[in-house]
């Protein structure tokens, strides 16, 4: 086996050294009746060339070279090649959690930079080193609101990603966290009147997403005002991180749960992605997940360490803020490099391109007879249209032209009927928009 660095004589020498006759003696603790006597029934060992060939075939079955209008929580942005070049350094990807800061300053400093940039972009004071993803991050955000307020109920807008809501339902079920939902208005934003009724003196947290699942940008300040008047906390989830380049950050929120996949993370059929939570200074001790802080060494030299770990499970055990342990460090590094590449000017330009493409597409679709379902509130790079024809058939026709059409909303929002959600990023070409526009009538 090519990954094993021992010859048979090495093994025999070591066994002799230990004082056993055969390696099976080292497994004597396992009751004999359970020890396997034959091979596992899995395929034989493959050569590296065969492995590459096997996965190439799978990649081809997935088919490639399609233009896509899918967003809905996973966004197709260009990934500068510098990202993979750097994260492929063994010093980054074959290291572990930086428990020994003297030999992990690379990972620690990069996480500190990541936290700093996330704070800058979200308008929050502190950000953690990452969460699994946006869906679990949103659930953890509401759990954090419960800890901070000492209340138990949560209210969730139905315009939050439906799969996020499903995850929250799973997480909340046995934690004594009743959930209520509020719908959306004609403009696609959370229904403020309904929200006002749903939030009461027992509400710990309110979760909205902005831009929301329909692409509509919420009036975070107005929602925050309402929520804060009732003494509850506002958790704002952001699934399309690139929006932060041009959309005002949700600075009125108490907790921001960001899915940073848009920042240079491959779509990868849904993961791994990069959740991250950010909040106000005063709530930091109730925030889950790892945190990196600046300090000095014995000679006064600047350095970074994992800190405030007394919140975490390895010390607090069943009283911990969360059971989360492993995070998404390497994916956070991708995001960090992406944010560094685009930086102060590029993030804005990139967001402007997304905005322009989506608005061009919306105009073209309208011209061809599709109707914008939500009107009267701004959108970023996603929007919902209603077609007179069956959107399944429209998408099938587009697929023949190697175009993946919008996300059909009926599955999660039966009341929206023939509506579909379309996303344009900087990678969407005018030609594919024009081609799609011809079919959406």
């Amino acid at each position: 086996m090519r990954y094993l660095p021992k010859s048979q004589s090495d093994r025999e020498e070591m066994l002799k050294d230990i004082g056993v006759k055969s390696v099976d003696d080292l497994f004597a603790a396992i009751p004999a009746e359970y020890r396997l006597t034959g091979d596992l029934k899995i395929p034989r060992s493959y050569a590296e060339s065969e492995i590459v060939e096997f996965f190439r075939e799978r990649a081809t079955e997935n088919r490639q070279g399609y233009a896509t209008f899918l967003g809905a929580g996973a966004y197709s942005h260009y990934r500068p090649v510098v990202i993979d070049s750097l994260v492929s350094r063994g010093e980054f990807f074959t290291a572990y959690t930086p428990y020994q800061p003297e030999i992990a300053q690379g990972t620690l400093q990069s996480i500190f930079e990541f936290q700093s940039m996330i704070c800058e972009l979200t308008g929050m004071d502190v950000a953690n080193a990452s969460m699994y993803d946006g869906s679990t991050g949103a659930a953890e955000g509401l759990m954090m609101a419960v800890r901070v307020t000492g209340r138990h109920k949560s209210v969730i807008a139905t315009s939050v990603h439906p799969e996020y809501r499903e995850v929250i339902t799973t997480y909340a079920r046995h934690q004594g966290m009743p959930l209520a939902t509020v719908g959306y208005g004609k403009n696609g934003r959370v229904d403020l009147e309904a929200l006002d009724k749903a939030v009461d003196s027992e509400t710990a947290g309110v979760l909205i997403q902005s831009p929301n699942f329909f692409g509509t940008i919420e009036d975070v300040a107005a929602v925050a005002d309402l929520v804060h008047k009732k003494g509850a906390m506002l958790v704002v989830s952001i699934a399309e991180a690139v929006s932060l380049g041009i959309v005002k950050p949700p600075a009125e929120a108490d907790i921001v749960s960001l899915e940073a996949q848009s920042f240079g993370v491959p779509l990868g059929f849904g993961g791994p992605y990069c959740g991250v939570m950010a909040t106000r200074d005063r709530f930091v001790r109730q925030m889950p997940g790892r945190l990196v802080g600046e300090t000095t060494d014995r000679n006064g030299k600047r350095g970074f360490v994992l800190t405030l770990s007394t919140r975490e499970q390895h010390i607090r055990r069943e009283k911990a803020t969360s059971n989360i342990c492993t995070n998404q460090a390497l994916v956070a590094l991708m995001c960090n490099i992406f944010m560094t590449i685009y930086g102060r000017q590029g993030m804005k330009e990139l967001a402007q391109h997304n905005l322009a493409k989506a608005h061009y597409a919306a105009e073209q679709f309208k011209k061809n007879g599709a109707r914008l379902v939500f009107d009267g509130a701004p959108f970023f790079n996603e929007f919902v249209i209603r077609t007179s024809g069956d959107p399944h058939i429209i998408n099938d026709k587009l697929l023949e032209q190697k175009i993946i059409g919008g996300f059909l909303l009926k599955k999660f929002y039966p009341e929206l009927g023939n509506a579909s959600l379309w996303c344009c990023t900087e990678t969407t070409t005018r030609a594919s928009i024009d081609a799609a526009a011809k079919e959406v009538a």
Partner: protein, 506 residues
């Protein structure tokens, strides 16, 4: 003799200094170029009104070469598996094969959208199906979900399955038993699932104390969360009795698969009575640890728990193609959006394919051989609190060195000077001053011998010149960090330094 004389594996070497990226920023520098906009430009302020962002504040502005140098320089400050042995106990820091990285980045896989039509996702679905089938065979279970994002997330999923199953039987029960040697995620998970946690004592051999178990298991106990081999590297020899005691009272056995690297190809948890377990693809199945993640924590279970698995599950449809089944009325629901950390599935499957049945068995045997070799050579120099046979990891204590004031954390720091990443420090909690060493199969005899020599040299220093150890590490770019100050006045983000003149005017 100088303090570096006995150090063979490492030597001091120039590394570059590098500030924070923000400190290199200056207005107008760029590392990007967007293609010309092929649609009409828009006025953001007109479209977004007062929701338009004006400025991105302190985001950096740097060039591409500066980015390459920045991250390359700081990367060299890390120790990694690629440098050498990384014997963190219970973390299984094994070699991360390069082919795994290559295949995970193939365009058709890396650029697949999770919502693209199933008929153009057959390759991705096939990978999920194949990995699922092979992990089921490896664990001896009946069904699996790959959705959980990491080990602790797998625990959460597994205990939710237990709860859903027991509820379907009429009573979810009240408690989860957790051995005192368990990782902290176990009790934290049980609490998240609405269970009370009850501690279970280990016996003198470091195993589950059967008498305590029998006394504690009753109709209130939902499950025992058992790590096997446990965190002492000890296989629960009475595993079948443990399962019997639980099952007799209707309780289930949850197995934490963190230490599965000791078992693959030799024994299957499904055969010795585990009802549900998680795997850590980033441990046993070689997906990279990446400086702390991403992980992947599939959960395998017996038939009776299958109806409760998270949605969706991959099924073969009547026409022979693969697809997702969302119609699972008894499911615990989703634990994560989409289907899990797919990129890790690709890598894990590539690892299993590279090994085949013989390679996986040899891997396990080498991992156990390596741990026993270290044990044999360090026993006596370091106290071995439990004499029970060792599987893939060995736990010593610092009792001998502590007499000279040298603790496990100090030994760890001195080991850094010797060119090794330390073992896991002060865990498991059942061993005061623990040194938890897991070499994995990836170490050659030469690397192990160097590690043993280093540990011997440190033991000798502890005896004769403990001051060297107390101040270690000596050869790293930073010395011991002031962690107390970091926690007392947390500085968790960079902020521009305000110049003194500005402070005065304020």
């Amino acid at each position: 003799m100088g303090i570096n004389d006995k150090i063979k594996k490492a030597t001091t070497h120039i590394s570059q200094n590098e500030g924070l990226i923000f400190e290199k920023s200056s207005p107008g520098k760029k590392a990007y170029k967007l293609p010309p906009l092929d649609v009409p430009a828009v006025d953001a302020a007109e479209l977004l009104g007062d929701l338009t962002r004006e400025d991105l504040g302190q985001m950096p502005e740097v060039s591409e070469i500066e980015i390459i140098r920045h991250f390359t320089r700081i990367s060299t400050w890390n120790y990694a598996v690629d440098h050498g042995m990384y014997p963190l106990g219970s973390c299984t820091m094994k070699y991360n094969a390069r082919v795994n990285e290559t295949v995970a980045r193939l365009t058709g896989l890396a650029e697949a959208h999770p919502y693209q039509p199933e008929r153009i996702s057959q390759g991705a679905l096939r990978i999920i199906k194949m990995l699922s089938d092979q992990l089921i065979e490896i664990t001896g279970m009946d069904a699996i979900t790959l959705q959980p994002a990491a080990g602790a997330h797998g625990e959460l999923t597994g205990i939710l399955l237990v709860r859903a199953y027991l509820e379907s039987q009429g009573n979810p029960r009240k408690k989860i038993l957790v051995p005192d040697s368990a990782h902290g995620t176990n009790p934290a998970t049980a609490a998240m699932c609405g269970y009370a946690v009850e501690n279970l004592k280990s016996n003198a051999a470091g195993m589950v104390d059967m008498a305590s178990l029998e006394a504690q298991v009753n109709e209130d106990v939902a499950a025992l969360m058992l790590t096997n081999p446990n965190t002492l590297g000890v296989f629960e020899q009475e595993i079948h009795k443990i399962a019997d005691v639980l099952h007799a009272k209707g309780a289930l056995m949850y197995m934490d698969g963190a230490n599965m690297n000791a078992l693959v190809g030799k024994v299957r948890p499904g055969d010795f009575g585990a009802d549900v377990m998680h795997l850590n693809l980033h441990k046993t199945f070689s997906t990279p640890h990446g400086g702390g993640g991403p992980g992947s924590g599939p959960v395998a279970c017996k038939k009776m728990l299958e109806p409760f698995l998270p949605t969706p599950v991959v099924i073969t449809k009547p026409d022979g193609t693969l697809g997702f089944d969302y119609n699972r009325p008894q499911s615990i629901g989703r634990v994560r959006m989409f289907y899990g950390n797919f990129g890790m599935f690709v890598r894990a499957l590539a690892y299993i394919m590279a090994n085949g049945p013989e390679g996986l068995r040899q891997t396990t045997e080498d991992a156990v051989l390596n741990a026993n070799y270290i044990r044999k050579h360090l026993q006596g120099l370091y106290e071995l609190p439990y004499d029970t046979p060792t599987m893939h990891e060995v736990v010593f204590s610092d009792r001998i060195q502590a007499r000279k004031g040298i603790k496990t954390g100090d030994i760890a720091k001195r080991l850094i000077d010797y060119g090794f990443h330390p073992y896991t420090v002060s865990f498991p909690l059942v061993v005061p001053g623990a040194l938890m060493i897991e070499p994995t199969e990836s170490e050659s005899k030469e690397e192990l011998d160097q590690f043993i020599d280093a540990m011997k040299a440190v033991a000798e220093e502890a005896e004769n010149s403990p001051e060297i150890i107390a101040d270690a590490p000596h050869n790293t770019r930073v010395s011991r960090m002031d962690e107390t100050a970091a926690a007392r006045k947390p500085v968790l983000r960079w902020k521009p330094q305000v110049k003194e003149a500005e402070l005065v005017t304020k």
